[in-house]
């Protein structure tokens, strides 16, 4: 895997500068059922296509940010800190 990613603070860097936080999933708001909890804790959608995901600039400023990436081509649509990310 090799592509470029834009840190919202530091700019364009090699992907090896970053840590991957996986696809964005929302934490249940209230007491989940056992099934909901299992789904939240263990299951991933693992889409072949564009997904919203977490990244951290591990070897840089340390910021966590959001990105949309096509998992088939590694094309990155955008990156942004959560406050500035487009609504999902």
């Amino acid at each position: 895997v090799s592509f470029l990613l834009t840190c919202p603070h530091c700019g364009i860097r090699e992907v090896t500068d970053f840590g991957f936080g996986g696809e964005v999933s929302s934490r249940p708001k209230a007491q989940p059922t056992q099934r909901e909890l299992n789904t939240y804790a263990y299951f991933r959608r693992n889409v072949a296509g564009v997904q919203r995901e977490w990244w951290v600039h591990r070897s840089g400023c340390g910021a966590w940010f959001l990105a949309e990436r096509d998992t088939r081509t590694n094309e990155v649509m955008w990156t942004a800190i959560p406050e500035e990310a487009p609504a999902p």
Partner: protein
């Protein structure tokens, strides 16, 4: 001497002599010579011994792509002498031969070893007894070798620089196509890099009569701003990132568009004894004469399947080689333009014939020529022709590996009997011979097309570039098609016994070996490759891939496109492991007090990234000092985070299962972090400094992960909190033992009496003149103070405490005695006593989970379930009568001998007078006094379970 008069395009500077030694003997070369060209000029024909049979070998292509010229240079093995330029004083030695290159006793394996060396031979033969394999391996390594590594570590290491280069267009290959592409793109304003593996750009034209043209083109490209990297092979294609190795630099080149102009590779013919020194590629022989002015042979036979060989025959004739016969497999060779030219030069042209056998023992003395049928069997009378050079050409194979790695699809082209790459629309363009444009003119125009195409897709050059692209495309289409090439037979043979027909010279794989593998069931190309190792040698199949496919097709009777082609994997070019392995150092963290520990004689060991003092030579004695007087340990490795802001308390409430926001300023609470599934991930202390500030410590190894965890949730929750990692900025020591209060009292500006500073108090103080944060906590189980200060002052703090404590009997203690002390208290080490399945309930800490907390927190729902259902196993203490210490991980058995749990920690405790430990047991056994069996090192031991601490179970000492 076989040096020719100066050649028009040669690379030599004949006014400068370079001296080096080969196997101890002095050799004189001209500047610009390669090791092999200088040795050849001096009369040497054998450069190496083959991998398996130790047959004498010379250089085939004079570009150093195969294994023929592998030598040991200045101690480094596996250097290709045919591409390594001479340097004054270099020490060159042969490899893989004993006692010498010209007489190698292991040649016996070729002469007598016929039945002993088929594929898979080692693994079938050297199996018994199994434990003897290392001995066999060592012996085999000695005879089937690729040189020897230097013994000294420093001679095996070198420094690799890493350079990241971003550009608009990367052109791989600096031949006429690549240079034309680079120039065209640069003229449209693109930032262009060319990576070429030869010592100068120019490619095939340097040898084939176009040296002035390509050298001028290279100069023009440089003038237009193109960065040309020479001796810089591209290693692979990784999603648009191309690593290019150049000496001691690894360029990581990322381009927006790529032009693959990797050329085509001339292929050898397969016939009996086709590996004798003196057998060369026709292009190789030509290269030797053109670039280094060396006469490749005095009397030559040329065997070819197309115009390449005829062209080479004329070139060899022109430099003074007596070409006695040219065998062209095409029946109509004489009626072709070049065929007529060959005959006009007075050379015998044998149309429809090929070479079926080379004659000679240590070198070519003749060639046997015959007409053959489609399978390669001689159909007419064979003719023996004396010669000392046998130049062969079976056409070319496009160098498609990098294209295939970039996503192109391999396709068999029946017209040219070889595999081409279909390049999809995208960021990669192909130009020149690799795209089928082998003729110089076609290659140049296709390069210009690729360069313009890349520019236009990048939006450079505007309408003019588009117009030029259209025109150049038309010019390319209008060119005449190249002359046809005959498909060579899989292997040509005269029907006589004796001799070996090599498919792969690198790995010593013969036609027989491929057939043998098919008999054993390895009849697909991927299996055949793995079983015989064909194409896996130094040339990476450059000379053997097509030949091996042809032989497999012939043996199995299947068509070539059905056989297919093996996957092209990086690296495409040879690269030292060291260039990829990274810099030869291991980053280490050291505490600010590290030098003191060394002076005190500490045993320093790795603990994660840290270099830590394990003990000072007497771990049990050091532990006793903490019980009896005082000890001082460096705990700077603890993770330390300052969590600050109006929401800091609420933020920590969401992360920890216990309550944090209710903590009063100046107080400390122990905290365990869990995952969303309720599993323990880390632990530490939380001290509240003021309303909005918390000082959080983590385990040493978990510091990075906890910081990541905190900042991630903070990004998600967007609370008014700032997290500052002060792990490296702050140092910490733990002063522990009954006398620690007196020692601290001497140095601190605060009241440290039992009333003034109570257990779990956190107070700022000046200690020994240094501003500190003092935490009264007790990991060791004795009265203790964890003192944090800015790292630059840590050594002064350490010294101050050691001096003040000298009269009280203070001793430094290391990590090992601390582990004994904490085990006596059953204080867990996360990751040692817990694993990814451990919940606070199982780890005997149910009290730390506050399910009645108002705030939601990470792991709450999973922990609520765990609380309802209870754990199946529990973490308990155990003791054994003084004796053996079971290893961490030792099994705990039930009455029937089945494993029911495992030991996680065990130490000998002088204080308790027993061996003590912790481990996981079923809840039924997790009761005081229960007896469990521990199996360790073939013995079993009875251990007694204890759920309360071994030392000071009430905790009176830490609170005193």
């Amino acid at each position: 001497m076989t040096r020719l008069d100066p050649q028009p395009g040669e690379r030599l500077d004949r006014s400068t002599t370079v001296r080096f030694t080969f196997d101890g003997a002095p050799v004189e070369a001209f500047a610009g010579d390669t090791i092999a060209s200088a040795l050849y000029a001096g009369g040497r024909r054998i450069f190496s011994r083959s991998f398996k049979y130790h047959r004498p070998r010379g250089e085939m292509d004079w570009a150093g792509q195969g294994s023929g010229s592998l030598m040991q240079v200045d101690g480094a093995p596996g250097i290709r002498a045919a591409s390594e330029v001479v340097r004054e004083g270099m020490l060159v030695e042969h490899q893989n031969a004993w006692p010498s290159l010209d007489f190698d006793v292991m040649r016996m394996s070729d002469i007598a070893g016929g039945p002993f060396t088929p594929p898979g031979f080692y693994y079938k033969t050297f199996k018994w007894p199994r434990r003897a394999w290392p001995l066999y391996e060592r012996a085999l390594r000695g005879v089937a070798g690729l040189g020897t590594l230097p013994h000294r570590q420093d001679e095996r290491e070198w420094r690799t620089e890493y350079r990241r280069r971003h550009c608009d267009v990367l052109v791989i290959g600096g031949g006429v196509a690549g240079l034309s592409a680079a120039l065209a793109a640069a003229r449209q304003g693109a930032d262009v890099v060319v990576a070429d593996d030869d010592v100068e750009p120019g490619g095939a034209l340097l040898v084939e009569g176009g040296h002035e043209r390509v050298r001028a083109l290279a100069a023009e490209a440089r003038a237009a701003g193109v960065e040309v990297l020479s001796k810089a092979p591209a290693l692979g294609f990784y999603d648009g990132l191309v690593p290019v190795w150049q000496g001691d630099t690894l360029h990581q080149i990322r381009a927006r568009r790529h032009v693959a102009a990797t050329g085509a590779i001339e292929q050898p013919l397969v016939f009996k004894d086709n590996d004798l020194p003196g057998v060369m590629m026709a292009g190789g022989a030509r290269r030797l004469a053109a670039l280094w002015g060396v006469l490749p042979g005095t009397t030559a036979v040329v065997a070819t399947t197309g115009d390449r060989g005829l062209d080479a025959a004329l070139a060899l004739h022109a430099v003074g080689v007596r070409v006695v016969a040219v065998a062209d497999l095409r029946p109509d060779a004489a009626s072709r333009e070049l065929g007529a030219a060959v005959q006009a030069a007075g050379i015998r042209l044998l149309a429809g014939m090929t070479v079926v056998r080379a004659l000679g023992r240590a070198g070519v003395r003749g060639a046997v020529l015959a007409a053959v049928d489609a399978t390669g069997k001689a159909t007419g009378p064979a003719e023996e022709v004396e010669c000392d050079l046998l130049a062969v050409s079976a056409g070319t194979a496009p160098a498609t590996s990098l294209l295939l790695q970039s996503g192109a699809k391999a396709r068999y082209d029946a017209a040219t009997s070889r595999f081409l790459a279909d390049v999809p629309d995208g960021i990669v363009h192909a130009a020149g011979a690799v795209a089928g444009h082998e003729d110089a003119e076609a290659a140049a125009i296709s390069g210009t097309v690729a360069g313009l195409d890349a520019s236009v897709t990048l939006g450079l050059g505007g309408a003019n570039a588009k117009r030029a692209l259209t025109n150049e495309r038309k010019r390319l289409e209008a060119l005449p098609t190249a002359a046809p090439v005959a498909a060579p037979p899989a292997y040509a043979r005269d029907g006589r016994r004796g001799g070996k027909a090599f498919v792969d010279l690198d790995e010593d794989i013969t036609v027989k070996d491929i057939a043998y593998a098919v008999d054993e069931g390895y009849d697909s190309i991927e299996l055949s490759k793995r079983y015989t190792t064909v194409t896996m040698g130094p040339s990476q199949g450059r000379h053997s891939q097509l030949a091996s496919i042809r032989v497999l097709a012939a043996v199995t009777g299947r068509p070539l496109d059905d056989i297919g082609i093996t996957t092209a994997r990086p690296p495409w070019s040879t690269v030292p492991m060291g260039a990829l392995a990274g810099r030869p150092f291991e980053p280490a963290k050291r505490s600010a007090i590290h030098e003191r520990h060394r002076e005190l004689g500490a045993t320093v060991k790795w603990a994660g990234d840290w270099r830590r003092a394990y003990d000072y030579g007497d771990p049990e004695g050091e532990a006793q000092a903490v019980h009896q007087a005082a000890g001082l340990i460096d705990v700077s490795t603890l993770g330390k985070l300052v969590v600050r802001g109006p929401d800091a308390g609420a933020f920590l409430d969401r992360l920890y299962p216990n309550r944090v926001s209710t903590l009063k300023p100046g107080r400390i609470r122990y905290g365990v972090l869990t995952s969303e599934t309720g599993r323990i991930t880390d632990d530490g202390t939380i001290a509240r400094i003021d309303d909005e500030t918390f000082y959080v410590t983590t385990t040493s190894s978990g510091a990075g992960a906890v910081l990541n965890w905190f900042t991630w949730w903070l990004a998600d929750w967007r609370m008014r909190v700032h997290i500052t990692d002060v792990t490296q900025a702050s140092a910490a020591v733990n002063l522990a033992g009954p006398r620690s209060r007196e020692i601290l009292g001497e140095l601190a500006d605060i009241d440290v009496s039992a009333e003034g500073m109570q257990y779990l108090d956190a107070l700022p103080a000046v200690v020994a003149g240094i501003s500190c944060l003092v935490l009264r906590i007790g990991f060791t189980g004795e009265l203790g103070y964890e003192i944090h200060c800015p790292a630059p002052h840590a050594q002064d703090l350490w010294d101050g405490l050691m001096q003040a404590g000298a009269a009280q009997g203070i001793r430094p203690f290391g990590l090992e005695p601390q582990r004994i002390l904490r085990l006596q208290k059953l204080h867990i080490l996360v990751g040692q006593d817990t694993d990814s399945e451990s919940t606070p309930y199982g780890a005997a800490m149910p009290w730390i989970v506050k399910l009645d907390k108002d705030e939601d927190f990470i792991g709450r729902w999973a922990l609520a379930r765990a609380a309802e259902h209870g754990a199946a196993t529990a973490l308990v203490g155990f003791s054994l009568p003084d004796g053996n210490v079971p290893a961490e991980g030792a099994a705990i058995l039930d009455a029937g001998g089945a494993p029911i749990g495992q030991v996680t920690s065990a130490r000998r405790s002088r204080q308790v007078g027993k061996v003590i430990g912790m481990g996981w047991v079923p809840v039924a056994q997790a009761e005081d006094g229960a007896v469990v069996t521990i199996s360790y090192d073939g013995e079993t031991y009875e251990a007694t379970v204890q759920t309360s601490p071994f030392h000071d179970p009430e905790g009176a000492l830490v609170r005193s």
